[in-house]
Point group: C2
Chain length 414, copies 2
């Protein structure tokens, strides 16, 4: 390739989104790309011409290794929705102007559904206006809800964190084993798709009794049925641990967290900001049963805990970045890298590139046939799907007793 | 030693309390003790003659290694307060009756302040009634609030988890760097002593800007001063992360969490069950400043995350158990093992045994001279104290992608 490239990160960070930009960078350098620019704070920063030169950090390969062990978005992220083209041509022209200014031939964007919409819009604009620049999507979302691809980088590490933390919570909750159980309700991220909460099912094994019930947003949440389940469990067990998605909703469509707080805030994409589902349910259980309850939210830690990332996930995130670079070097544009499972046991996964129009703005849900019969747990089909994604570890580099990260100078606030 | 021994665990579990019973067990076997019994659910289970034979699990030393990597109380815990002796002699006689029945010469109890009270009461009763049985305390508390000892096993691992997770939260919160910052308030355990929340100060380093403010229960919490601090930070920073102890209280003595919820529950020892401090403060900040806020509670994960335990802590917890066994074999009773810091840099720590009467029911707080001048952070004296306690790691044994634990058959609920 003759020109330069730029890579950006967008949306909620993950434990491995930095591995994807590492993959783009390392592959670009192998292919002889001159400058690899990073967008500072995604397309929003790019529109203000905020770029960094990635050589400054990553010409030393040790720093590439530290980058793989650094959570969140090294380049900074954003939640910026590209406006519709009609009437906002100036925004699109600005993107191409900055690309031309820096001789940028290809733009890589690592993100989830909303970010793939940005890739789609930019490649559509280029096609319609005879622009030669190319645009590639690199999948990234802990939510695992992108369609077509078998799974998304970021999910495996979040699932590993969720299952590990849940095992630890279960051990803790079981230790008291009083005459009356403590009911512990763990809230896990996932607005409309239950992939993250499903990962609670991975905790179960010969050393862990697992979650007693798992509630995903794919099924309507029936508060009476939930309460009956809790009472039934509370009558026979000395510890009850229940995993619930932040996005569970009742039959009329209202989220359970809205029952506790009617003034739920909304973000730039119109998504409700959720929190408080576990606390609300724990209060209900305590009031109706008199049992001791505890509400735990795994919160942003489930997307930031790189110290416990899955090596499979780190490697695949790297590969997605590297393969996006290869595809772009081969002239492809308007595509996202997808994963295709070629072997189940042992697990084998390949990548290819796929038309972004089939991907952007489509949400994939946990299939109905992966639930247990009563809908309150996942069956062995989910386990077979998810287990390979959490395998392996990459030891953090500990300095002064804590995992070492690499941080961009511009984003480091003293 | 001719007789047998029994070891129990009590109070809130820690990441390393199992290393302490490993230490008792391994040392007992070296000293030729015949049977090492474990109390199932502490003194409460012991009073019902619920015992296990630890040989059944730990004659294979591989299982001792897995035990060191297992969070929470392997033997089960309890929150049982021994009644005052007068008028409840039957409870005390029952303890000695069960000890005699199993030829138990020494009882070891791993726990915090409340558990050391149990050791004191039992050794007092033995002394007053001419009983030959011996009672030793093994310090354990993430709260680090036992007096006399330099620090308590359990604290270093909790501090390592808190500092690591806080680094990850800060990376996550900084990634957006929007025009207006997100204010993230992290709630950390600690009812009256701020040791755990102080650990937030360890996150700061050349790769992390650290917490912007840290509020401990040692200082009266002034809501106006807090709000001014947040506004000041919000005006200049693109990310604000504040650590706050669950036990912070206002000038009239009320806990901040009580301001949100007047009906705070109380446990067997009369301690209020806390939660919701961060959520309450986040709501206040959002309402008064219009900034986006996020509340995170580290919750029970900070005492259960053995996957991220400090090797120093694991080794010291083991040593405390082993040294308690040695002291008891030498005829000591009514004592707890304490740690004495013999060297600062490099860190060196020795142990000895200490009269339990000086320890039980006394709480140690973070010294005033370890705070920064304005009282909203910790200074280098705290860092010098705490840094050595979080050093080193013990790699978990991963099976199926998750850390492996060992679980007692009786406590495993399918």
């Amino acid at each position: 390739m003759k020109g330069n490239i730029v890579v950006g990160q967008s949306g909620g960070p993950t434990a491995v989104i930095n591995s994807s930009i590492a993959g783009v960078y390392v592959q670009a350098k192998k292919l002889g790309v001159n400058k690899v620019y990073g967008m500072v704070h995604g397309i929003e920063g790019f529109l203000e011409d905020k770029l960094c030169d990635m050589d400054e950090y990553f010409s030393d390969p040790v720093n590439v290794e530290i980058l793989k062990r650094t959570p969140s978005a090294f380049l900074g992220s954003c939640r910026f929705k590209m406006p519709k083209i009609e009437g906002h041509e100036d925004v699109y022209e600005k993107v191409f102007e900055i690309m031309e200014k820096h001789d940028i031939e290809c733009l890589f964007y690592a993100g989830g559904n909303d970010s793939m919409d940005t890739v789609k819009m930019l490649s559509d604009y280029a096609a319609a206006h005879g622009k030669s620049q190319r645009f590639m999507g690199v999948p990234k979302t802990i939510d695992n809800d992108l369609p077509i691809t078998d799974h998304c980088p970021g999910y495996g590490s979040a699932a590993k964190y969720i299952a590990t933390s849940l095992k630890e919570v279960i051990r803790d909750n079981e230790s008291f084993g009083a005459k009356k159980p403590t009911v512990c309700i763990v809230e896990i991220m996932g607005r409309n798709a239950g992939w993250l909460t499903a990962a609670a099912a991975l905790a179960k094994g010969s050393d862990c009794s697992g979650a007693d019930a798992i509630y995903l947003p794919e099924k309507v949440f029936d508060i009476d049925a939930f309460m009956n389940k809790v009472k039934e469990l509370g009558a026979t067990k000395s510890s009850v641990v229940i995993a619930v998605s932040e996005g569970v909703h009742i039959a009329d469509g209202r989220y359970v967290c809205e029952l506790a707080n009617e003034n739920v805030a909304v973000d730039a994409f119109g998504h409700k900001q959720m929190s408080g589902t576990a606390a609300y349910l724990a209060q209900l259980v305590a009031a109706e049963t008199g049992l001791k309850t505890r509400a735990i939210e795994f919160s942003t830690l489930q997307r930031a805990a790189t110290h416990l990332a899955s090596l499979t996930d780190i490697n695949e995130a790297f590969q997605a970045g590297a393969d996006a670079m290869k595809a772009a070097a081969n002239g492809e544009t308007g595509k996202m890298i997808i994963f295709t499972r070629d072997g189940e046991d042992p697990y084998e996964c390949g990548t290819s590139s796929y038309d972004i129009h089939e991907i952007a703005n489509v949400e994939r849900h946990v299939p109905d046939e992966w639930f247990t019969e009563d809908g309150t747990n996942l069956n062995e089909k989910y386990i077979a799907y998810a287990r390979p994604l959490i395998m392996g570890e990459l030891t953090p580099v500990y300095v002064d007793g804590l995992p070492r990260h690499i941080v961009m100078k511009e984003l480091f606030e003293k």
